[in-house]
Symmetry: D2
Subunit: 333 residues, 4 copies
């Protein structure tokens, strides 16, 4: 059993990680931190986890057994500080960071996308950006894994095949992707105020979402424009990418392209000739990808659970691979 | 045309009032105030009202034409201050206050229910609590009307018949009443955070909701216990009141009781032998009341739109009556 | 007062029409038909209309006062039969048909889009397709108006400006448009089954929605591909149309284009530099249109209430114009 | 590994059972039947299960490996026929029936509650009604387990303590319990039509729900009246039971009562002094029970997932016990 800790575990990403760790046969949850809930049972922040653990939140890593593996579920800009503190305290084991802080390859891109200086550019070089179906497993010796963003995961997995050698050319993809309100975190915001979200659709950060930098890493050379949208549901990301195909490319070529990229991936489900529905992947670690071709028109459809494949289950995939285990361990199936 | 102003008009109650005034053939909206939106078009806070008025918010009553009628849509504790300021500025016309500040008959009850001193007890004596189907029209010369609370309106209208002379005795009513998220106002709160409200039900202020003081005024002598609940919808209050009937009382007696109280009321719809559904009254000024009797078991059902009969349309009813007009004027039907 | 009837009035379009007629100062509802509800009060099918009319449904036009104006709210394929029956019975007044049966200019297009023969091609020649902001008022003497489809209305109003003379060229618009469940009508269907619609998004009729034929009429020459989507809400259509601009075209040109087309239209609200939200138009007769331009990227956003501008309020606009009245009469504002 | 089959597996209860079996370390799914989907992959009816099994639906038990354990997920009235057919075909192993057909102790009660003759009264004697926290494990040799109804489970677990010896007396409980739309099954119905369920609350079968017969078995002697309600969500049952306490009974006595009944139960979570929220148990096998006492007023709150504790996870609990395993096997925790 690998002793496992979650830092800043009182939010939604923290909850999903705690849930996944408690269900994993080879991970043992030994510690969870939260400043607001320190000293209180985990169920005080996460009533859904009542009956599954007797642990209480603590303030820091010193307040419990020394872990082998640490997940950091802090907000953007705070992940780097937490990782730096871990290293400063002498923790030398594997860290999976859920924030955006180590996702971009260099400090300049970070400034462009997040509008502020990177808090610890010195740590960037040692970080591995892990989207397993594209990047594969981390190199031996990896000690810091940056877990991808939720929109970035869904859109990258949809567009990545078009960045592979010999892929059919598509002009510019028009991407619309919609997220549930849990993507905004556990703290109330105007954009998650029920009367303004229920029965509503709202575009935001049009053509300028910060996850584009990650998509550019995972699907280099693919042209797209992206309209992010807030939708009236809690869990899941769903969207479409429309494009115009070159002459001679049809449904058969698209299917071959996706099969070549993903047929061996246990967490990717392909739906040729149709678009998956949002609910199919909600609550699961799967990514659903489908497509429809008609004459020169192409539309891709994609769906993930933003807190699973878009956060916790992808983090478990990454940890499994770093630990030399099968990618599916502790995850259904 | 009666020149009409709305103070503190940037919230949901303000929006419903502005909407109702713009639709009223004999009221002319001349002024709306908001500290946050001062100088900006009304549509900046209320996009649904774009295309219906060219007014912009101003800071105070001095920034526009002198009104004949003022609605005050400030929060609880601020209504009294706003009314006091109006009087201090010399405004002598009719004021309808939407806050809780003038709903209770004396300052002591206010302290008990709201846990703080009443800001202006000297103004209480002049206030008329107006729930027209129970209280009738305000006395001639009334200059300050306290508009009832939303839960108070729904539950009082359901229980009031049992406080009338000769009404059948029912032991203690078990009331459950559920409100949509717009009842919490326009500012985000933990209880209106979409991921925690969507698909959820949550009881709060069990047996101690402050609206009980209003119900006690409108249905004196009726015994009840009240469990307030937050529901996963935006608009509307819905609930049930269960009780046990005395021997010899059946469906016929209950129907006669409600008919005697409400058959002449244009905004009360009776549904003998069934319970109304929540959506029936949403978006309308109606109150739906129904009941089912089986042997000695009784259940009443009630529904209102919390921003209409629970706020704006009841305020228009009150203003219509104070102005000597028909209660339905400007309201459908 | 114009005596007005609604045929096949027990569905959602019927309900919205009855509501609009009851609120119209110059229309008098004299008759409503329904086979299923014949003999029962209108509130038996539409509890929201209780307290607003004492009429009961009847079986046919012969069962009440002779109307001057008839709205036909039958389903697709049944509208033509109902209109034919009206004419056969000698009714010579104005008919507004809500079905798809008279929306297409010729019987061949109808076969292509609806997969069956047109039931009464002889009646097509006399029908006027009325989308007032594009088509203007019907010619004098018009006796049959085809009211547009809901998706067709929203998308046509967004794309129409690009079909006008001198409009900037945009390659192919990628349109995604999403509808609430009320667009599927009042009868339960698998696609409106709550557990499969709640928290879900589902594409359907991809690249082949029948409303494309109407869009082709209203925005001729504009290239687009359209992905229709079912969303988890009751009322409203919302969507985006993305395109790539030619060199030299920017936000200023797009604004001028939309201003030139719509600045005089009381029911069109323009939102330059932003995309409207879905809820802004829900419950209202307005169409919201916005846009964002960044470099050569363009996205249009559009929103309507599918039962108002997408059905009943547009029908009232059409009737107002045919009767020589102001387009806004009986509609807010 | 116990070879396991699910009959009539294309509905929601079937889906939850398949999911639970696929996640159970000691159960092996070998067969699933469906008339409508026979020959098609399980994912054709249940896309959420894509990637988790390669099985296709078959028509009958003869079309696959002989199972050791069979779950029957047929509708009410069809469960008995399916069980009879199983026995007729010589299957002698354990059957867990999800329908209502074997839940009542005798054929007369069945007629009263379901309004029709019991299809196979001869099989009733051999059936064990299993609500493990109340009934304990089935007797050795049990071959047929009737799995309880969803409302029956939630309300029985809340009221059962008051039927135990020495429990405080409460007059008549007023129960309101609300269910999500998945409780109505996978086939569209007027009551699950999205536009009529979204943002709506609707009471039905007031004082006459068929699950009362099960509650009467599990909480004999407890007086209650029950208002069932349809709520605007997909998963979960939530409700309250209000009562008036005798003199001398307070929060301490209620807590002792619930602790005495349930403190050893791994799937019951007690929340003294508060009412649980609906979402806490959704997606889990837990039952949440809480209470608030103020003077002589008592309210109990309860929540379960109707497809888990109200169906599939309770069935797994029952099967685990019948197989001599720990009640939690294959279920979190």
């Amino acid at each position: 059993m690998i002793k496992t800790a979650v830092l800043h575990a009182a939010g939604y990403v923290g909850r999903s990680l705690l849930d996944a760790i408690l269900a994993h046969p080879d991970l043992e949850l030994v510690l969870a931190t939260s400043r607001s809930f320190s000293g209180q049972p985990i169920a005080s922040a996460h009533p859904t986890l009542a009956g599954r653990t007797k642990l209480s939140f603590v303030t820091s890593l010193d307040d419990g057994p020394q872990p082998d593996l640490v997940f950091v579920a802090a907000g953007h800009g705070q992940g780097a500080a937490a990782v730096a503190a871990l290293r400063g305290a002498g923790f030398g084991g594997l860290v999976v960071d859920m924030s955006a802080d180590f996702r971009l390859p260099d400090a300049q891109t970070y400034v462009q996308r997040y509008g502020k200086e990177h808090p610890r550019p010195d740590l960037l070089a040692g970080a591995w950006y892990g989207m397993p179906e594209i990047t594969g497993p981390p190199p031996a010796g990896t000690k810091l894994i940056a877990n991808p963003g939720c929109f970035a995961t869904a859109i990258s997995l949809a567009l990545y095949p078009f960045s592979t050698e010999g892929a059919p050319a598509v002009g510019t993809f028009s991407v619309t992707a919609m997220t549930g309100a849990s993507g905004s975190g556990a703290l109330p915001k105007p954009t998650t105020h029920f009367p303004d979200r229920d029965g509503n659709m709202r575009a935001y950060k049009v053509f300028s979402h910060q996850h584009e930098a990650e998509i550019d890493r995972m699907a280099p050379g693919v042209s797209y424009q992206f309209v992010p949208i807030s939708g009236p549901w809690t869990a899941g990301i769903w969207g479409t990418a429309q494009g115009v195909l070159s002459t001679g490319v049809g449904a058969k070529e698209i299917e071959e392209l996706f099969e070549a990229c993903y047929s061996d991936q246990p967490f990717i489900r392909l739906w040729p000739g149709s678009l998956p529905e949002l609910r199919w992947s909600v609550g699961s670690p799967f990514t659903d990808l489908g497509w429809i071709v008609q004459d020169d028109r192409l539309v891709l459809g994609f769906g993930i659970d933003n807190l699973m494949k878009g956060a916790a289950s992808q983090a478990i995939q990454n940890a499994n691979l770093a630990l030399g285990w099968d990618i599916t361990r502790g995850l259904i199936p």
